[in-house]
Subunit: 359 residues, 2 copies
């Protein structure tokens, strides 16, 4: 088992990464927990619910089980209320622990439920998508969507442990793997050129979910994200570099409607766009832009963005919550392994867009 | 102007107490605020909205105004969603500041909206009831109700400033003053015997809202609450003593239906009950129990509780969220000015109940 320790203002906790960690979830339950609430969705519960229940049974603590519908469409205040109603009707108290078994949707929503139920109870993340394993389960961002904006209601709230089982990735659709790998590559691009090169070399093994290779990729991703988050828990400064590709990506997601492209796919494409913009604004060498485009393609993400027209693109990007006071800030790469955040001249943006959208 | 400084893990802030502070609310708005959102209800906005708007206008920042319905019945997830929808439709960003003008209902709900909107934006409390001035605006507890329980959904979240204008109490119904005074007395009982004696001496002036007297009572109450909260921000230990009278009081509120007795009235009566239980369990002298009963009566709160029968009483008190694992913990007084938290033998509870409920 490999372990990443996360130290944040709200406390510190460990991320456990290994095959078959699901069988050991019980070891993450604190002794003083009054009861355990296992929350998952109707896709994941049938696949992995039993092994987790089996593990938790050794604690001999009362176990409450809630199965939610599956999908981003249910990451809402309404589903949150379903969770609250369940917790209250089961008389779940402040010493209970929520175990969130699922992808980012389950993780974000259960994390926020834990943050807000009785003003905060403990929770454990058991992320089952690659995206959740390398991204959403680390950093303490929890949220639900509002009809007027994604992730608009939430809290910064840390789990007490994150248990990552790489074997569960076998049942994940290939597109979800590609989407998760986009975020993996992102860490290399913004912080670690060597890790980016390692990804280039190991792309076939990563796509084949070779246990050792994918475990290392997850480990390094968690480590890099934990480092950034530790420096800047509330996203006031450095944490912004984690948004590489996201300003473009969110625009794509918004315009096409959520779910058309997976988040990671949009981010993959967005990173290619950010690379083109970096070439334009900071002189990132064309050879490096090509490396980025090639790797994004190799992991199976799109590299050509939809063509909404420049005006619409800019409008879409301004809706993004990072556009404070109307000015859009981009994460750019002076070189692979280093990121800066800045506004850009609109001609440069126009050129970068023209080079990355569908002809 | 008198100032109480509150130091908590989430930062520190000042409580400003003075007549006509409403006219100076602008001085609490940080320079980097992108906009201001004034939220109040339809009772308070017509009374004090204009003076606050007037004050805020000197900042020259965009001002968004939201008037909510009045009442505990609206301290719900639905009203919270009304706030979110308003904020999003007005494109309120992360650098905005919410000004919560109202009693505990507005303060708790706006505080929680601020805590959860975009994972947390800044807010200022401008409490307009005595209860909110001495209690709910200090300590960072924010929440809304759920049909299955009061204050079940919320966060620990600190305001950036609290502005207390004692002149607004003039328009408050007399019962609300009595209810607020119950919480004032509470601080004396649990922490400061001298302050309790001062309240006994000054009860007439307090009821008459003499500016200097009420200002001092508010100042000392905030100071004492801030001290407790500073020691124990997340209510894991010491903060529990603030619940003197509340286990009984909540039972009364639950059984009669919220609003029949005001919270402070129920707490006033509950403190008499806690005093009787303290006499029974800890030997608090009868003369002290009488002092407590007399002062609660003098401020205009009930001192005789409804008679639900002992079993029903116990059942009601177990619903209270402090009853972890079924055991009810009570805040008891070994003497006036000192509090302890403990469970009690059921005979003692029965005797204390029999001495305090309606014959
Ligand atoms: N909190 C953060 O920091 C953060 C970061 C990035 C993304 N997110 C959020 O994460 C969400 C996206 O997460 P996601 O990509 O994991 O999507 P998801 O949770 O919807 O999971 C994708 C799909 O895969 C299914 N699934 C999950 N695990 C499976 C498995 N092992 N086998 C088979 N199917 C499985 C799910 O049921 C779902 O249908 C978004 O809501 C996004 O906002 C949060
Ligand atoms: N956060 C905490 O630590 C904490 C502590 C105690 C109570 N509370 C919460 O506070 C709430 C009760 O607060 P409250 O007693 O202030 O009730 P409230 O907010 O409902 O106010 C009482 C009534 O007085 C009106 N009002 C307010 N100011 C007025 C003024 N100056 N002139 C005339 N009318 C005025 C209100 O519109 C309302 O009708 C409850 O929801 C309770 O849960 C929170
Ligand atoms: Zn992302
Ligand atoms: Zn109270």
């Amino acid at each position: 088992m490999s372990i990443v320790n996360v130290n944040v203002a709200g406390g510190s906790y460990a991320i456990h990464i290994a095959p078959n960690v699901l069988k050991q979830v019980a070891t993450s339950i604190p002794e003083d927990a009054s009861s355990i609430v296992l929350i998952s969705n109707k896709t994941i519960m049938p696949l992995y619910g039993d092994v987790v229940k089996q593990s938790l049974s050794v604690t001999a603590k009362p176990l409450h089980i809630l199965e939610l519908p599956d999908g981003e469409a249910f990451k809402t205040l309404e589903t949150l209320n379903t969770i609250y109603t369940f917790l209250l009707s089961q008389r779940v108290d402040r010493k209970a622990v929520i175990v969130a078994l699922g992808g980012g949707v389950i993780g974000d929503m259960c994390g926020y439920a834990a943050a807000s139920y009785m003003r905060g109870i403990r929770f454990i993340q058991v992320p089952t998508t690659l995206l959740a394993q390398v991204d959403s389960s680390v950093g303490g961002k929890t949220a639900v969507n509002h009809p007027l904006g994604k992730n608009m209601i939430g809290a910064f709230y840390q789990p007490i442990a994150v248990d990552i089982d790489v074997t569960v990735l076998k049942t994940l659709p290939a597109r979800e793997i590609s989407a998760g790998l986009a975020e993996v590559i992102k860490y290399g691009l913004i912080l670690d050129a060597e890790f980016f090169a390692w990804c280039e070399e190991n792309v076939a093994k990563l796509l084949a979910l070779d246990a050792e290779t994918i475990s290392y990729a997850i480990h390094r991703s968690c480590e890099l994200k934990a480092y950034v988050v530790g420096e800047d828990e509330k996203e006031t400064g450095m944490r912004a570099i984690l948004n590489l590709g996201h300003t473009f990506g969110h625009a794509i997601e918004t315009a096409l409607g959520y779910g058309k492209w997976l988040h990671g796919e949009a981010v993959g494409c967005g990173m290619v766009q950010a690379a083109e913009l970096s070439a334009q604004v900071l002189g990132l060498p064309r050879s490096e832009v090509d490396r980025i485009r090639s790797l994004v393609e190799a992991i199976g993400c799109p590299t050509v963005a939809p063509n909404f027209g420049t005006d619409k693109w800019i409008e879409l990007m301004q809706i993004d919550k990072k556009a404070e006071g109307g000015k859009i800030k981009f994460v750019l790469l002076p070189k692979i392994g280093e990121a800066v955040v800045r506004t850009v001249p609109s001609e440069d943006l126009g050129i970068a867009l023209s080079r990355t959208v569908k002809a």
